[in-house]
Symmetry: C2
Subunit: 341 residues, 2 copies
């Protein structure tokens, strides 16, 4: 428990005042100091092993130089790249990230936002926003800088960075259509998340454009974005007895679950049914039959979002970009093929 070196120590050492030391160490303020003094302070600072106490500085400047990063669940493989993308921008700018997992639970999210505020975060990158999210809207109104990632909040005007969900679904539908599919089912994602909603709406819209029937029996809505719900939804589609030759799933995990469930009934993918995902999770290429999916740029999304937040945190001449939609890419693998007969 060595007590740490403070500005005061350096000041005493040099026989100058703390504020001189403070100024000498601040690149912004060095202009009005003698070059000599700056050098001497720097030297003894290094010599004594001085390290600034950010808590104290933050208390004074009301800037903690830290941001909260809220995600649903870091064990969900699509989030780690996002987190690193965020870090790759924030860390070089001197910001630390406090990471919290909400599990998509509104109540947990609300508590964690408080925790982050208590710690004086300068802003929040929110990759776990719910469509109806009073807590984060409130936080934004309170003056906390917030940018949402992957999702957007319905009512409130919070800047967001999302992927082009509609284009992704269109690419999928187009791909299946060109393969000859006309009876396309959908396993939709949770409708309380903007990704779930946007992908579903995009499916409906695109299906109409392609003159495909949109039979309610061919739509199953998942409660969570996981394999288990994928299985359940696949089962529901099977029991409806309405024929289909392809299933568009709102994300990869739903698709993986669906494929497993179909196989239980002897339906092989892609021979009997084509299945598509969304996200392009890591290792997906190694899992047979190779899921056709939409690749989203997670790392870049994280970076972009972090930059948007920095734009707010350190105001510059540019106007603030409130909406960013990143392009997506179709990845065709073995899970899609032409329908038989």
């Amino acid at each position: 428990m060595n007590k740490r070196v403070t500005l005061k120590d350096i000041a005493r050492h040099l026989g100058v005042h703390v504020s001189t030391v403070s100024r000498a160490l601040d690149p912004q303020k060095q202009s009005n100091l003698s070059a000599d003094a700056i050098a001497r302070v720097r030297d003894t600072a290094r010599e004594l092993g001085y390290r600034p106490n950010r808590l104290a500085a933050g208390l004074r400047t009301r800037k903690s130089m830290s941001v909260g990063v809220m995600i649903p669940d870091i064990t969900n493989v699509i989030f780690p790249p996002i987190v690193r993308g965020i870090e790759s921008v924030l860390e070089p700018s001197g910001y630390a990230s406090i990471l919290v997992n909400t599990d998509n639970l509104a109540e947990r999210e609300a508590r964690l936002i408080q925790v982050l505020r208590d710690r004086g975060v300068d802003g929040i990158i929110h990759a776990a926003a719910l469509r109806d999210d009073p807590t984060i809207s409130w936080a934004a109104e309170e003056g906390l800088a917030v940018v949402t990632l992957n999702r957007k909040v319905d009512s409130h005007k919070i800047p967001y960075v999302i992927n082009d969900e509609e284009d992704g679904i269109r690419k999928i539908v187009d791909h299946l259509y060109k393969l000859g599919h006309r009876k396309i089912a959908e396993i939709a994602g949770p409708q309380n998340l903007s990704t779930g909603l946007l992908r579903h709406e995009a499916f409906i819209k695109t299906a109409r454009e392609y003159d495909l029937q949109v039979d309610p029996d061919l739509i199953a809505t998942a409660l969570h974005f996981d394999e288990d719900e994928g299985k359940k939804c696949a089962r529901r589609l099977l029991t409806k007895d309405t024929p289909f030759t392809a299933v568009i799933c709102a994300n990869d995990r739903l698709a993986l679950g669906a494929i497993v469930e179909f196989r239980k009934d002897g339906l092989r993918c892609p021979e009997d049914v084509s299945v598509t995902g969304f996200n392009d999770m890591p290792f997906l290429d190694l899992i047979p039959p190779g899921l056709t999916t939409i690749k989203i740029q997670q790392h870049r999304a994280g970076q972009t979002c972090a930059r948007r937040l920095l734009d707010i945190l350190v105001p510059n001449d540019q106007p603030i970009v409130t909406e960013t939609i990143l392009p997506v890419q179709l990845i065709v693998r073995g899970s899609t093929g032409s329908p038989k007969a």
Copy 2:
């Protein structure tokens, strides 16, 4: 930018002194306060929407109630469960986690440790320790509470939580031996990481116990724990022309890479060569041929490590446990079988 409610505000509101308010809000200090005062403070605190400023409190108490979590790379699938395990213990205890990725770079690690210290973290959970790690040893000596996870530091006496690497390798060797393998190759991990070293040493030791030859030509050492190095090492083993029927890989990713490389030469797994991994990554069960591997309890390891750190941070009567070795489990899948002929 609404200015936040402070103790002073509550005090003014109630016509009492700040210190009274402070005491009333501290469960520890409530004993010597009138029940009435406590109630009134609590009420107005809630009413005004008071939230404590942890930075200010931390400055005074020299406790930030935050800990640094250092990992090599969160995009490596074995770390997210660990991180959640840590959070599941720390968060309920009022600690926030600042997550940083070191990429196993000593220089980056050193800088990040400084960053964490500057932010006044009370302790560090270090899942990215290098075997020779002067920076973290120094931090520990400086009085920072440190526990390493998955790995241990050679020289310094820092408490650690690791998996039973030796038992894992023994279980693998035993499994292969019982299948009939006698010529077993090894793709060892990076020897500057304790996992790499421990698993390699365990292999040598166990091989001797089982009276297997330990031919240097049958050992390839990877520079990183990734697929690419797995391929390179597999290639090196193939070029040596020393026959083997099985390969023990120091982790799953090396194994996945090796299988791909073997296949290039027409060697099928497990028909021509059995391959094993270590870690039991998520989705491994879905990737053919299904890797036989050692399952480690990542979530539990994270929890355990966080508890060890808390034991140091909030001293209790118990003595501090410096060494924790968690049990591991053999998972047999399709990548191992009997050698032919």
